[in-house]
Amino acid sequence: MTIKALPLRQKFFTPNVFLLLFFMGAGAVFAFFRFFYGFGSVTNLSKAYPFGLWIAFDVACGVALAAGGFTTAAIVEIFGRHKYHPLVRPAILTAFIGYFLVGLAVFFDLGKYYNIWHALIYWNGTSVLFEVAWCVMLYLTVLGIENLPNVVEQFKDNVHLPGRLARLNRPANWLLHRLDWFCGKTMAFFVIAGVVLSFGHQSSLGTMMLIAPYKLHELWYTPLSPLLFLTSAVSVGIPMVIFEGTLAAKFFGRRPETELLSGIAKYVPLFLGTYLLLRLGDLAYRGVLASAFDGSLQGNAFLLEFALFAVPYFLLKRRSIRRDPTLLFLCALSVILAVVLNRFNVFLIGMNMGPGWSYFPSVGEWGVTFAFLAFGVLLYKIGVNYLPILEAEHE
């Protein structure tokens, strides 16, 4: 590639950063109560809704929205569309941050968080969660390795630790050289491993709620759920890249990469079409389409979810719309909201644990979730500011 990725090296403490820190601080306060006074002091969780916003959004949506990493890696590295190479590093970084936060969110949501390592030693192969946990751990490791070249590139032969730490310069440099060699030799292996792990992981999340046949609404209780989760995650991969790319350009004062983004957007209808075909086929085959129109909360939630998927499918087929940065961004946003709503529907809205119980996330739950989002944005900012993630602007 002729154009090199470079750290942005912009001023770090902008007003936006203080806003992010504020959200994180608020989340930390709620987290304090959750850890020292129990879930009951912060959340609206109950025996009927043991999974709430933290699982539905921080974990289920977090994983799906990190799909930009493996879809971009697959398109560029495996299917050889090297034109889109500038999009790979930001996508992989975002996926790493996303999975890191998923891990952190799980830690918040586990009652006995100090036993989290038990997943490593006590194996229960019949549990869907067991598979989910291993894929998160392995894929997070793979994403870490995939991000190593950025660190190596930035600091190789360029380690200048201050004062007493200076004696570590040589060993650090030696280590970076070894890592460089290691990455160069093995990256292909990890790129494919990342895609395979994502396949397994995304689909397993779709299997999770299938253990509750008498609780999950028929619109979402389908043996095809793993495949639907996988295809919808693939569909949201590129829209996430578009979403982040557009916002990053805006907030870092860079020229938007409209040409690249509208170029890669042409694959989205392909994925969305596959998903919609499977979804409709499944509903029709199981004969449950009627319950989408019964006016219930679940039926309406499904209709909204479906519209958010279907509208960008038709719009993004048109070249003129893909070339319009605003419409492109809105289409990407629609797909993202569709996937978020779909995960909410499966994990919360479509779950009926019996009469007399309802759930709406508490202020504390929202607070912690916003804190995670803020932390993610902050990590992204740190990443692009000090590591070569974004390519220097064209022309």
């Binding site: 590639m1 850890f35 020292f36 006074y37 129990g38 879930f39 009951g40 002091s41 025996k47 043991p50 999974f51 590295e77 495996i78 299917f79 050889g80 569309r81 090297h82 034109k83 586990l110 009652g111 006995k112 968080y113 036993n115 989290i116 038990h118 997943a119 006590y122 229960n124 192969g125 019949t126 549990s127 869907v128 969660l129 067991f130 598979e131 946990a133 292909a188 494919i192 491993a193 895609v195 395979v196 397994g200 689909s203 397993s204 299997t207 299938l210 253990i211 509750a212 046949p213 008498y214 609780k215 043996p223 793993p226 495949l227 996988l230 042409k266 694959y267 596959t274 644990m353 019996g354």
Partner: protein, 309 residues
Amino acid sequence: MDLSRRKFLKLGAVAGGSAVCNLARPAAAREMPDIDPDWYGMLNDSTRCIGCKACMVACKKENKLPPESTLGDAATFGAPLYDSPRELSEQTYTLIQLHRDEKTGAATFVKRQCMHCADAACQSACIVGALKKQKNGAVKYDAGMCMGCRYCMVACPFNVPQFEWHAALPSIRKCTLCSETRLEKGEATACASACPAGAITFGKRSELLKIARARIAAEPERYLDQVYGENEVGGTCVLYLTRKDVAFAGLGLQPFGYKPVSDLTESIQHRIFQYFIPPIAVYGVLGGIMFYNQNRKRKAGTEGGDDDY
């Protein structure tokens, strides 16, 4: 080569797609769970229960659980009021609920507790295996292994496992079938021992079924000809009898199917990871495509220069 790159990619996509479709299709239903005739259990005869709640008291004593008042706590009244739970909770392992028939107005008392399923959904769901079916029939919970993920609560069709929402370091709580405290000493469960009306019969599941059948046969005009738990969700160790004119659904015992609820998830999991062949196959296909593309680029001698899709 007449196989153009485009065609190759299309073929690859079709092959990969059908492989994935194949994975997602559930395998044939698993075999029904083996039911051990030596498993212990309880037969709850709702036609005999008088609603005295002696079983609830005995359970609280046995498990050293605090009373739970829905009227107000010690802080409100200056003294703790007696036990009046409305639902199973982390402080209430068993509960007597009153159900009134809409037509006849007849009251029926029903005892709720862990059903100690033959193929327990919680055991299938638990990520670390903290919930396990024991040789004596009890589904036992191990707080030391548990991670507190609450997936067992999602999985249980009877909504039995309860979480300590107000503890800093919470555990799951539920009926133990007095497995450690009494069964090992050869004693019956605390609730069954306390029942003054003979509504709770403790014993081996196989024998309880015989007793239930005998009661139905002896008084066919009194009992509905069905033993709840014999087949529901693959069979449970706690069984129920009901009046002829009161359906189990009217007692809050839902008409579940005969398959274990974990049937679909376990079939899918098994299919996706069968001998690890499917993941390795996907890996191989993707690796092949990557190798093909890189090789083609190397031959062309260019790094960039995509042909457009």
